[in-house]
Subunit: 162 residues, 2 copies
């Protein structure tokens, strides 16, 4: 097949990137579920934040982060705004974010991914690099939650299950 | 500006994805450097692998994984093949992989990213999803190494430094 400019396939499409993120979010949800409720809010290692606090950071980033990309709104990184005190609470907020991310994603035109953006008033990048940063940050903190679970004698979900 | 089909911008280009990976690899290198040599090979939490063993997995995936994508070679996941017993050793292998990944990357035509592939004889996906898996797996294990460092009283490098 002759490849012309127009036939060049993208590395990844917007829909694939969204599915990739939501797949990671499904795994993170299983990690929240795997935690005993008490340790979710009380347990940590080496002076780090609890798993619940890490999850609050992820919640503070995902929808507000994507909202400012999709709607050009100005957002603050507000990790402590919500009075989250139970696993059910945390899972409910997680589940509410899921369709909201899908809704916002549909508002981002394909050509926007390469455009510059500043998230939370200070983080400069492009739309694609900002979204990958949101995802990478989730993977990073979830990896830390895996160590918490292991040190509690609990087997975490398989990393490749999405 | 009127957007026509041909003008549609990609979400991410192959060069950007490579730079993204190498940026993560530069951060992982700083994590290896931050470890005291003894703890790099001896320390772990909750029965998990040592940081050195996690890094050996990453080395076993990166170049062989990309080689099979670029050259259609058949590769085994061989995490214990190398007699790695010092931090210098590990860093040297890490640094040897860096230009080799760049070299192999240049051999992957853009239209290949959407094609199906099977890595290490068993992991089915597309080229893009396989490469993102390699990167995500590195972020995941590096996040675990951050907890090891914190529990040793050592401040890890900033996550956003690439």
């Amino acid at each position: 097949m002759t490849q012309t400019q127009q036939e060049t396939k993208p590395v990844i499409t917007p829909t694939q990137l969204l599915e990739h993120w939501q797949g990671h979010r499904a795994l993170t949800r299983r990690v929240i579920e795997a935690f005993p409720e008490k340790e979710l809010f009380n347990y940590s290692i080496g002076g780090m934040r609890t798993c619940a606090a890490l999850i609050q950071e992820l919640l503070a980033i995902a929808v507000p982060g994507l909202r400012q990309i999709a709607l050009e709104s100005t957002e603050k990184l507000d990790e402590d705004s919500k009075d989250i005190n139970s696993k059910g609470n945390l899972l409910q907020l997680w589940d509410e974010a899921t369709p909201e991310l899908n809704r916002l994603w549909a508002l981002i035109p394909e050509e926007k991914f390469q455009q510059p953006t500043v998230t939370f008033g200070q983080y400069e990048g492009t739309v694609w690099s900002s979204i990958l940063y949101f995802i990478d940050n989730e993977i990073h903190h979830r990896g830390q939650a895996y160590v918490y679970l292991r040190s509690l004698g609990i087997e975490p979900p398989y990393f490749w299950e999405r």
